[in-house]
């Protein structure tokens, strides 16, 4: 009787995950290998033409998304690491206050935050409008609807997801290890490079994972902050699915995107062990 307990506990969630995660993704894989349209129906042809066509048609947006996601992730790492470092080692008893302040934006809806960011960057908004009024900026100066605005929005929206895992990893570093390094006459810089940095790498990996995937696939920043030249792959999938109803093409693009991202994730997961990534993701 006791032997079956874990199975009974796991069963409902298993069913949920199987029916609504595994089956749909398998179904999508099969749809991506069909031809046809919504009215005449789709036939399973196992032809990969959807993939080659979709990649040929949307390679610009796919590459752009990976570049935007990649650049945003690097910026987040550079901006976020010092913050995580300071909070973990120097904030003392105010650690939780600083973490709380970093998490403040999450009390505002993602969509609304992005739109407020757009308010702030608007051509005649409180920031640029005022500066233009003072003559500091030229009249035709604008940030909205540019690459800078989209990447800036991605960095803004996902930065806390980079800081938190790095903070968790740094927090676990035993201060005695650092003292030992100083005792052995290492300088501040080499202590950081050879002791602290390697110990924080699991956090860095988790942070990269938690920011790169959603940033690359995000449609909102491009839609709200970008112009026609900033369309990302997320916008394409939405349009193909919801406007054009071209399910085979849309499935093929989604799958290509997921394949590209999953390859990256698996390399990380292999290097770390899934347990670690999940643990870091949980805190």
């Amino acid at each position: 009787m006791r032997r079956w307990t874990p199975y009974w506990l796991a069963l409902p969630a298993w069913l949920w995950l199987a029916i609504f995660l595994v089956v749909p993704i398998a179904a999508m894989a099969s749809v991506s290998l069909t031809t046809g349209n919504l009215i005449d129906g789709f036939t399973q042809t196992f032809s990969v033409s959807n993939y080659t066509d979709a990649i040929a048609k949307y390679s610009t947006q796919l590459v752009r998304s990976l570049v935007y996601g990649g650049v945003a992730t690097v910026i987040m790492l550079v901006l976020g690491y010092p913050v995580a470092y300071w909070i973990a080692f120097k904030a003392g008893h105010r650690k939780s206050m600083f973490l709380f302040l970093l998490l403040l934006p999450f009390f505002v809806s993602f969509v609304l935050r992005t739109i407020s960011w757009g308010f702030l960057l608007a051509d005649d908004g409180i920031l640029f409008g005022t500066l233009k009024g003072w003559g500091v900026l030229p009249e035709d100066f604008h940030v909205l609807a540019t690459t800078v605005a989209v990447i800036g929005g991605l960095v803004y929206n996902f930065l806390p997801f980079m800081i938190l895992p790095i903070y968790v990893a740094l927090e676990r570093v035993d201060p005695r290890v650092i003292e030992a390094s100083y005792d052995l006459y290492a300088s501040r810089f080499s202590t950081f490079r050879r002791v602290v940095l390697p110990l924080s790498l699991p956090g860095v990996f988790a942070g990269v994972l938690m920011t790169f995937v959603p940033a690359t696939a995000d449609p909102i920043n491009a839609q709200v902050l970008g112009g026609t030249g900033n369309t990302m792959i997320g916008n394409i999938v939405q349009t193909e699915y919801l406007v054009n109803n071209d399910y085979p093409t849309a499935s093929a693009i989604s799958f290509t995107l997921m394949a590209v991202l999953l390859i990256g994730i698996f390399i990380y997961a292999r290097a770390l062990g899934t347990e670690n990534v999940l643990e870091a993701a949980a805190r």
């Binding site: 874990p6 199975y7 506990l9 796991a10 409902p12 969630a13 298993w14 949920w16 995950l17 609504f20 995660l21 595994v22 749909p24 993704i25 179904a27 999508m28 749809v31 010092p82 913050v83 300071w86 909070i87 120097k90 939780s96 709380f100 302040l101 970093l102 403040l104 934006p105 009390f107 505002v108 969509v111 609304l112 739109i115 960011w117 308010f119 702030l120 005649d124 908004g125 409180i126 409008g129 803004y156 930065l159 501040r188 696939a217 449609p219 909102i220 839609q223 997320g234 999938v237 939405q238 699915y241 499935s251 995107l257 997921m258 991202l261 899934t274 990534v277 999940l278 643990e279 949980a282």
Partner: protein, 262 residues
Amino acid sequence: MRGKLGDRALYVYTWLIILWLASPIAVMILFGFNDKQSKSNTSWQGFTFKWYQQLFAIDGLTDALVNSLIIAVVSTILATVLGTLLGLAVGRYRFRGKGVTDFLIFAAISTPELVMGASLLSLFVSANAPRGHITIIIAHTLFSLAFVVVTVRARVVGLDPSLEEAARDLGAGTFTTFRLVTLPSIMPGVAAGAMLAFALSIDDYVVTSFVNGSEQTFPLWIVGAVKVGIPPQVNVMGTLIFGIGVLLAVANAISARRKTTH
């Protein structure tokens, strides 16, 4: 001395990042008080309370907010129950299929929202299921569930099994042991998971945009309104949600501190 200077610089830098992260919130709150005359709400035109008085004047927006709240509550309950049970299973027991289960949890967390939404839509279309409240709740439960599992498991792993043994030695049955010993000790993990599930649900745009049919939620309504101009009521609702969330979090932190000091 150089070290001290570096620390000072990092301290200032951390504050700058925090201010940067908070600046759009300040803008959101401020423009909820903007006495705007034209359609666009990007320039400051004077102070007013009228959007607070006319908070529910836009029917579509109010409906969307109510929908969001209902969906968040129902999917949080479902995800918390399913996720807590699975969290207990993977945190406590060794069983055949644990590896597959771990992988499923990992997959549920790391699948891009876009792919999750698109594949769910494929399923609902091929099953001829009408899209609406129920499909949104199914989707939200799906992406919240794994996060509940992870937070509950972290708590279960740290649990002392001798406590439950003691309860059983004292004659408590399986259910009584669970209710009086196991559940209270994993409760912080369950509560954290539930809060996370609620936050994820009420905030979701991407997955919902695929499975909503003609049903509107708060984030979907806002994105739909971007082109025609966001009414200030959205800022007011955002401000109120922000205020309530922060108050609850602070109250929670204070009560947790009280418990540890006494």
